[in-house]
């Protein structure tokens, strides 16, 4: 429903299938061409008054508003269905840390020769620890060093 009084173009928009924000954003999108005044028109509708900024701007105004309204309805539906997902995606993007490709070793700053020496030293220390503990009965009355599986066996089923 529309009527033209002086220069003002009046339009009524239902709020049954769309909320006020949808109408408001669609109206804002044409604010280059007209001043827009939105006021309540009953419980589930609003009245929009467009005052064109020029005669040329008035020409396409309603067509543009209708197109914007249709677009905004789509946007609102997509936004409503995906709000949580979008928030998750933005949080993930904000916290994203690039992982170096697999196979790419972190540069330790050591020469290959130093790396080899270090590896040999680590192997030597590990071997000494093994020798020291071999044959000795380690005191562990509470079984802290034993795994859950060693103590109780592997899990057999899922508890409900």
């Amino acid at each position: 429903m529309k009527k033209q009084e002086n220069k003002t173009i009046a339009v009524r928009a239902s709020l049954k299938d769309q909320n006020l924000d949808v109408v408001r954003y669609a109206a804002y999108a044409v604010s280059d061409a007209a001043y827009v005044f939105i006021k309540p028109a009953g419980k589930r509708a609003v009245a929009l008054e467009f005052t064109p900024k020029s005669a040329a701007a008035a020409k396409d105004l309603l067509r543009r508003f209708k197109e914007e309204l249709a677009d905004e309805q789509k946007r609102a539906a997509i936004f409503a269905s995906n709000r949580d997902l979008r928030e998750f995606m933005i949080l993930k993007a904000l916290a994203y840390e690039e992982i170096p490709p697999s196979g790419q070793r972190e540069d330790s700053g050591l020469t290959p020769e130093q790396e080899r020496e270090l590896d040999a030293l680590i192997a030597q220390v590990e071997s000494e620890i093994k020798k020291e503990s071999f044959g000795k009965k380690v005191k562990d009355p509470l079984g802290i060093t034993r795994t859950w599986e060693e103590k109780y066996g592997a899990k057999t089923g899922r508890k409900k």
């Binding site: 954003y25 999108a29 044409v30 280059d32 997509i78 979008r86 995606m89 994203y96």
Partner: protein
């Protein structure tokens, strides 16, 4: 629970997770926050937005790969692209503009730099201010600091400039930061001695070149005759030095900036040919900003966004034709936008960031130590309105400057999510608004985008670039521009 509900509803699974669109001709350009884009025919757009596109549809796989299908999202890929494109959010300001003096021998018609007469020596930046400015710049957590010497004509304050270059180099060595130094000069006071110092200190050189002699001299009026002659002489000098690299230091290729006045609008070919003739490989076609002297003379030298758009598009078309003939010439604005569109990369174009680069990407230090959000903000200050002044190097710390109310309001007002039209625009992933421009032209930091000329201009450029990317031959040229 939410997953179960989604699984029950097959239609909603195929809905777009997040998308922005623009109808261009009979087709729709679809984009998302990660920067992916796709072209859809009207019927396909209707299917996608209704959540009814079949998986066997040939378009489905493309849309899924680009993050447009809700149950086929590659979260890691989308997050990586988003972060790469918005990497600047994790650093502080990288660009630090030091206004060495307001004095200048030129009286350019459109001068935005608040230039003063040659006698105004009180507008020279003292060494103490310059050093304090450098100290503050190095407080930025950004690992890469660029210090740009501007004016007026910065060479008028040569001794301070020279000393500041050395001081900044020393600071960078101690701080372990990557330092880039840049000089913007009209060359009227350039000498071989000064040039040698700048080359040895790896200072990159930028000047203004508005086109052929008649046009350049008309726009850039010089008190000492032809400003064009000085410009050309020194562009050639720095070009020659660039072509003859030496082992001791890097010599950067000189660059030039074009400012388009009303007098330029009828001569796009001549202007571009001038750049090509000078061996310049980049031309930055910048519109006149209605700030400073330009605003006062707008009736004489200004134009509306539509005129500039026509000029820009004709220029871009001519540049592409030159490229097809093997000439190396790129348009800088297009290159920077393409870097975002094609490479998901931030090119460092502070005017088209979200939020904009004001304060969080750049700082402008006036000759007296006053700090502004950006050079445009400083120009507003020169007009008598210090809204964009965020501190002084002697009285305010880096932390205080970053926490100032003006810094915060610039960030909030240039956040595209909070701009009703921008938040819905297909070009949002690549664009940015300018609170200073909005304030100067529309009286509000937020502005009104439907009626904003800068917005109209950017939309025109983006539309042209996306259309060109549809053409395989032209797309190949454009992609080559940003292949580095």
């Amino acid at each position: 629970m939410a997953q179960k509900q989604a699984a029950k509803n097959n239609k909603s699974q195929l809905l777009l997770p997040q998308a922005l669109w623009q109808k261009i001709g009979a087709n729709y350009l679809l984009t998302n926050d990660s920067g992916h884009y796709a072209w859809l025919k009207e019927k396909d757009f209707a299917l996608v937005t209704a959540g009814k596109m079949a998986e066997k549809d040939p378009l489905f796989a493309e849309l899924a790969a680009k993050g447009f299908i809700r149950n086929r999202l590659d979260f890691n890929d989308l997050a990586a692209k988003w972060k790469k494109k918005n990497a600047y959010l994790y650093y502080g300001p990288g660009l630090h503009i030091l206004v060495m003096t307001l004095r200048c021998g030129n009286k350019c018609l459109y001068c935005q730099s608040a230039a003063a007469g040659l006698g105004a020596k009180h507008t020279d930046m003292p060494l103490a201010v310059a050093r304090k400015s450098v100290d503050l710049a190095f407080n930025s957590p950004n690992p890469g600091i660029t210090i740009e010497f501007q004016g007026g004509e910065p060479l008028l304050n040569w001794e301070v400039l020279k000393n500041t270059v050395l001081y900044a180099r020393k600071k960078a060595r101690i701080a372990g930061k990557d330092l880039k130094l840049a000089l913007v000069s009209n060359f009227s006071l350039m000498t071989v001695e000064k040039a040698e110092f700048l080359l040895k200190q790896e200072v990159s050189i930028c000047t203004s070149l508005d086109g052929p002699k008649a046009l350049h001299d008309k726009n850039r009026v010089s008190s000492s005759g032809s400003s064009y002659d000085d410009t050309i002489k020194w562009i050639k000098f720095f070009q020659a030095r660039h072509d003859k690299q030496v082992p001791e230091y890097r010599v950067f290729k000189p660059s030039a900036l074009l400012t388009v006045s009303r007098y330029s609008l009828s001569g796009h070919k001549e202007i571009i040919d001038e750049y090509v003739g000078m061996g310049l490989e980049d031309i930055f076609i910048r519109p006149l900003a209605p700030i400073g002297y330009a605003w006062r003379l707008w009736d004489k030298i200004g134009y509306d966004a539509k005129d500039f758009s026509i000029f820009y598009l004709k220029s871009l078309d001519y540049i592409l034709k030159l490229n097809q003939r093997g000439v190396v010439i790129r348009e800088k604005m297009a290159s920077m936008m393409l870097d975002k569109i094609v490479n998901f990369r931030d090119p460092g174009y502070l005017d088209a960031r979200c939020p904009c680069g004001a304060a969080i990407g750049q700082l402008a230090y006036n000759y007296n130590g006053d700090i502004y959000t950006c050079d445009e903000g400083r120009m507003v200050g020169w007009e008598g309105n210090d809204l964009f002044r965020i501190g002084n190097v002697f009285t305010d710390s880096y932390k205080k400057v970053m926490n100032s109310a003006t810094t915060k309001v610039c960030v909030v007002s240039s956040n595209l999510e909070a701009q009703p039209v921008c938040a819905r625009c297909a070009y949002k992933p690549y664009c940015g608004v300018c609170p200073v421009y909005n304030y100067e032209t529309q009286g509000s930091l937020w502005g009104n985008m439907p009626a904003n000329d800068r917005c109209g201009l950017f939309k025109g450029i983006f539309k042209a670039l996306f259309m060109l990317l549809k053409n395989p031959e032209k797309a190949a040229i454009l992609k080559k521009w940003v292949a580095k």
